[in-house]
Symmetry: C2
Subunit: 316 residues, 2 copies
């Protein structure tokens, strides 16, 4: 689930707002667990990291700022904590006796990933040019975003390996619902000396989820978002919902430019990757409909497609 699903409607990420939003998000998750499914929950952290970066900036003269990998680890702590409380509560309300655990999770990336030299992912708040230039003097990359001001951009390298996938597998085997790979996982690189170190980057949570899903042998990947399905011709009067679709067809639609790079694009890519790597199906749907999605009864359902579907698209 996305980081925005964990904030209030106005985008603020005050603790009480986050707790309330996660309590709502836990309900459909508990519905899935109640079916007897083994469930791993991953989550975004964009708004939460945004807040941490502001704190870094405003306290920098007193307290050493922490790098992006630490910000990610911090949000795994807080969001993991909230999810433990919330999912346990929703399970208890359903009489489901399943324990929940939250793991600190690292995702390995390639230090030679070209995205490190050409950072593109905007994070944090907009600043006036003068303030942005101060941060640029500290080595950060900021871009002029027009009327709103300047914004920091960071590398979003390709996730290669979920280093802590074995912990997830062990907890699943012991019957736990597991929270893992929050924020895409804490980004790390493995040096030539074999040593793992954190690195300043953010990792796409959907791509990490697809990778984790395959690492633990998950059969279904559900990408919970704020729309009921992926759409074609989005933003036009010819909008169409993508229902059951083969991964080949989904890649074709993607190549035709139907899915925006900053929002639906990575979700579609993640869904395709999961199925291409051997996953049974990937579902893109809204958070409140994930139980139907897992059951194969709603949302965009991507499969390998040996069983040809009569129609991949319905009008709306």
């Amino acid at each position: 689930m996305g980081g925005n699903a964990m904030t209030s409607a106005d985008g603020r990420a005050a603790p009480a707002d986050q707790i309330a939003a996660i309590a709502r998000a836990a309900e459909p998750i508990a519905d899935v667990v109640a079916t007897g499914a083994e469930v791993v929950i991953t989550h975004g952290n964009g708004p939460q990291v945004g807040n941490l970066l502001v704190k870094n900036e405003l306290a920098a003269s007193v307290v050493p700022p922490v790098p992006l990998d630490w910000c990610g680890a911090q949000t795994q702590g807080t969001i993991g904590f909230m999810l433990l409380d919330a999912v346990e509560r929703s399970l208890a309300a359903r009489g489901v006796a399943r324990p929940v655990a939250a793991l600190v999770t690292r995702t390995r990336v390639d230090p030679g990933d070209p995205r490190f030299t050409e950072p593109t992912k905007p994070i944090g708040r907009y600043l006036p040019e003068a303030e942005a230039r101060v941060m640029m003097d500290h080595g950060q990359v900021w871009q002029d975003r027009g009327e709103k001001g300047w914004r920091r951009v960071v590398a979003s390298p390709e996730p290669l390996e979920i280093l802590d996938a074995p912990s997830v597998t062990a907890l699943l085997a012991a019957g736990f619902v597991v929270v893992a790979a929050g924020g895409g996982g804490v980004p790390v690189v493995r040096g030539e000396d074999g040593i793992v170190r954190g690195v300043e980057a953010v990792i796409d949570k959907d791509l990490s989820a697809a990778l984790l899903g395959r690492a633990i042998g998950a059969s279904v990947l559900v990408i919970a978002t704020d729309v009921t399905a992926a759409m074609l011709n989005f933003g036009t009067d010819r909008v169409e919902q993508v229902d059951a679709v083969t991964v080949a067809r989904m890649r074709q639609l993607e190549a035709e430019g139907h899915f925006a790079s900053g929002s639906m694009g990575p979700k579609v890519d993640a869904a395709c990757r999961f199925v291409e790597a051997g996953g049974e199906r990937a579902v893109i749907t809204s958070l409140d409909r994930i139980a139907e999605g897992v059951a194969g009864r709603g949302g965009t359902i991507v499969t390998a497609g040996d069983a040809v579907q009569p129609s991949t698209v319905t009008g709306r």
Copy 2:
């Protein structure tokens, strides 16, 4: 291990300092793991939470401050992350193939604990009275600490239950070295409605470690600190090191006032509680000597004491 063991000598908790300190701390821990022992690591977080509180204060006009339970969860993320990297590295250097996992861990306290009405634990930085009064207007309790200024005091309630002990047990059974209950665990209360919620408090990490140790059936509790053992007449010319000692004798020495309430006191109390609750032995020693301590060859070793020791104290 203490939070101070994870900062540089000058007490700063800059990321690079913390990473270096934890890399050093991981070495003796890996020595213990290399003996074949099943190991759970808990850690303090005082300096780290201190930094987070400063950020809360300085960014409060832009970003909603987060409560103490969140600060604790944040440090479980960052310190857990660092320990994963560092312990894996030290194990690899020894050719030991043991995976490591870090858990978000909650500790339940009693909402009726009298320490909530009489907070005593000082946290964060000293501030001038005027700035302290601003925070007091926001409901915080601050005390005049003389020349250094005013300091916030918070509740440090009794830890009653490590809610996530079952996750620790599951990971241990699967062969993992486990990082858990960092900072004493994220403090939570269970309301009359059965719902678990975070609460503004800090929990003593040594007392939590004793509780966790018994919950998971640990035979040995090692409290790693910066002295080789608990001392009698500390700070006088009659200082004596406590070696092997029965828990009854240790309680007697404690009652005689040998152990300072803010430093060695909780460690001695935790060691005694662990043994009183059925633990085989508790060891208080310096971080670099924990392998000897686990083997029963150094530090203050507290046992139930059915086998009477000829001498519990040696000169130094």
